[in-house]
């Protein structure tokens, strides 16, 4: 297993290098201009100087190699220095990946934004899983019952209606009309006592539920299908013939086997949490990673977009490996060599 994981990680290196190159090339080919958002009164020759100052004067391969060096050497060195409080080499003049818009290091921006995203989007993922699994299990066990029909209907709505619509609908109902919940997520809010904790809960409910509904709709379908698949297996009949309690048959035999593919789907979905729900974060003004990416794209902030997208790529490759390994641990028929 360990050998397999190491081999997969080694194979990931060329894959990621190719991905980083593709992202860089696509962003470079895109007709965007980092000075496009600046006031129109700035004369063209000044704009040209700004572009030169941002490093756009270098040819494409040079810029790519510089980014590679900044991302793979300078940034890790910086993280090590900060973590252990030491100085390695000439750290004052070491160039980090810098945002063109804010002139601050991209990695610092990402570290700053990550907690909000993990809280809101991560929480919605957890809530979604907690809703989806019982619904999937009961729907499958009572196939074609009223519960199953209603569950199917709701999950169809859940993943066919986009989150930007349900989000706005929630805001109209719960913020504008009923006035129960705030429509804007306040990132600066700090939890100090019960009242502020309650406010935190209230401001999280809507973004979390919008995303949870979407996640739960998909996962509950997976869960239901997987349960149905296993419920009709012969070993379930064997379990009943052994005289086991129905609860044991369902939870020990059927559920545990049904969870194998579902756990894989869940693991594969984790990178999306880090990606942030771009649209939902935008609607509720959660300034997480998704919003950072949107602002970066709008402002043609290429180093920011490049770095952020590449980190997503790393996470996707990594969680693919995690999903495979988890699958191998859960299913004794699968062994990696």
């Amino acid at each position: 297993m360990l050998n397999y994981a190491i081999r997969r990680l080694l194979f990931a290196i060329p894959t990621l290098l190719i991905i980083s190159f593709l992202i860089f090339a696509i962003l470079d080919l895109a007709p965007n201009d980092p000075t496009g958002n600046l006031p129109l009164t700035i004369p063209p020759e000044v704009r040209e100087k700004i572009r030169m100052a941002l490093g756009l004067g270098d040819p494409f391969p040079i810029r790519y190699l510089k980014w590679l060096q900044q991302f793979f050497i300078n940034e890790p060195l910086n993280i090590i220095e900060q973590a252990f409080g030491i100085t390695i080499g000439d750290s004052e003049n070491r160039l980090r990946v810098q945002s063109w818009a804010t002139r601050s290091p991209v990695v610092d921006l990402i570290i700053e934004r990550t907690p909000q995203t993990l809280w809101v989007v991560g929480m919605s993922y957890v809530v979604g899983i907690l809703i989806a699994i019982p619904i999937g299990v009961i729907s499958a066990y009572r196939q074609y019952s009223v519960f199953d029909q209603v569950g199917t209907f709701i999950s169809m709505i859940g993943f066919s209606v986009p989150t930007f619509f349900t989000g706005l609908l929630f805001i109209v109902i719960f913020s504008s009309t009923l006035g129960w919940l705030p429509s804007i997520y306040d990132t600066t809010h700090e939890v100090t006592d019960f009242a502020s904790f309650w406010f935190q809960v209230k401001q999280m409910i809507m973004p979390v539920m919008v995303l949870a509904l979407f996640n739960a709709s998909q996962l509950s379908r997976f869960m239901r299908a997987s349960m149905l698949d296993n419920l009709s297996q012969d070993y379930v009949r064997t379990a009943r013939a052994k005289g086991l309690k129905e609860k044991v048959v369902l939870l020990v035999h059927v559920l545990r086997n049904s969870l194998i593919p579902v756990v894989t789907v869940i693991a594969l979905g984790i990178p999306q949490i880090f990606g942030g729900a771009i649209i939902t974060e935008q609607i509720f003004r959660v300034n997480g990673l998704g919003q950072l990416l949107i602002v970066g794209i709008q402002g043609a902030d290429i180093p920011l977009v490049q770095t952020l997208t590449f980190i997503f790529a790393i996470l996707i490759v990594f969680f693919n490996l995690v999903a495979d390994i988890v699958y191998g641990m859960l299913d004794p028929r699968i062994r990696y060599e």
Partner: protein, 335 residues
Amino acid sequence: MTQQASEINSTAEDQVLLQVSNLSMHFPIYQGLMRRQVGEVKAVDDISFDTYRGETLGLVGESGCGKSTAGRAILKLYQPTAGRVMLDGVDVTQMEGEQLRALRTDMQMIFQDPQACLNPRMTVGSIIAEPLDEHTRLKRAQKRERVRELLDAVGMNPAFENRYPHEFSGGQRQRIGIARALALEPKFIVCDEPIAALDVSIQAQVVNLLEDLQSQLNLTYLFISHDLSMVRHIADRIAVMYLGKLVELAPRQRLYSLPQHPYTKALLSAVPEPNPETEAVRERIILQGDVPSPANPPSGCNFSTRCPVAEARCRTEIPAWRELDSGHFVACHMV
């Protein structure tokens, strides 16, 4: 074996372990937009027979005639539509929930497909030990001892207890299935085509194992099969099924030498002779047509559409299940 069978016949009713009376298993058919019930598949229709302690009752018939359904309905893995199943004086069909679970220690089943009927994620040890967890209060060490004992009894290495089912061959998996069924020391075991999925070379091993275990543990088998020569080898008495109904039941020797029902005759004539000279002149009864659908069985005798000797009466009147002479039952107007 003949002696044994006649002994069983001579000893009276108190030797009966399992008494099946008028058992029916009909599955509803739903169709259309509103899923209305439009009919039913009469998978098992009004069958009655007794099984004596320590004997093997063979249940034969072609595919789809309701053999497996009958076996499962007897063990109440299905809820039978009608009828009564008395196992050692207890009516299984009336049992529900906890009572039924407790009764599972007396009756077990060996399934046809040894691959599919073992949970792929459980080790062999835990598959066999699970009924012990559920029905006994053995200590962990005692359970482990029992599992190893059972594996040994079915001719497997006790060290295999930590392996998973996919690591074994078909025959070994069937042995695991047998060990699993034996774990609770049942009185009665339904063997649902236990050898159909195995290679011929392995079939004999498994059948011999079943016979050895029967004599050691005084087990009673309902041996469901479509393999006539294998049933002839293992069964003391044989019941023949056609389209959900029993057509004939007789001690083995008698059934093979003096079959009464035209379907039994046709079925037995299909068994090839080992001797090529007699095989060449052997007369085969070839039945015309196909088996009717159990959702829409013919009126009168189920076999009347294909019977070589059917008369007008056979197409209107359902033949009664009657005893010809001691222990030979048949359902036919023409006998």
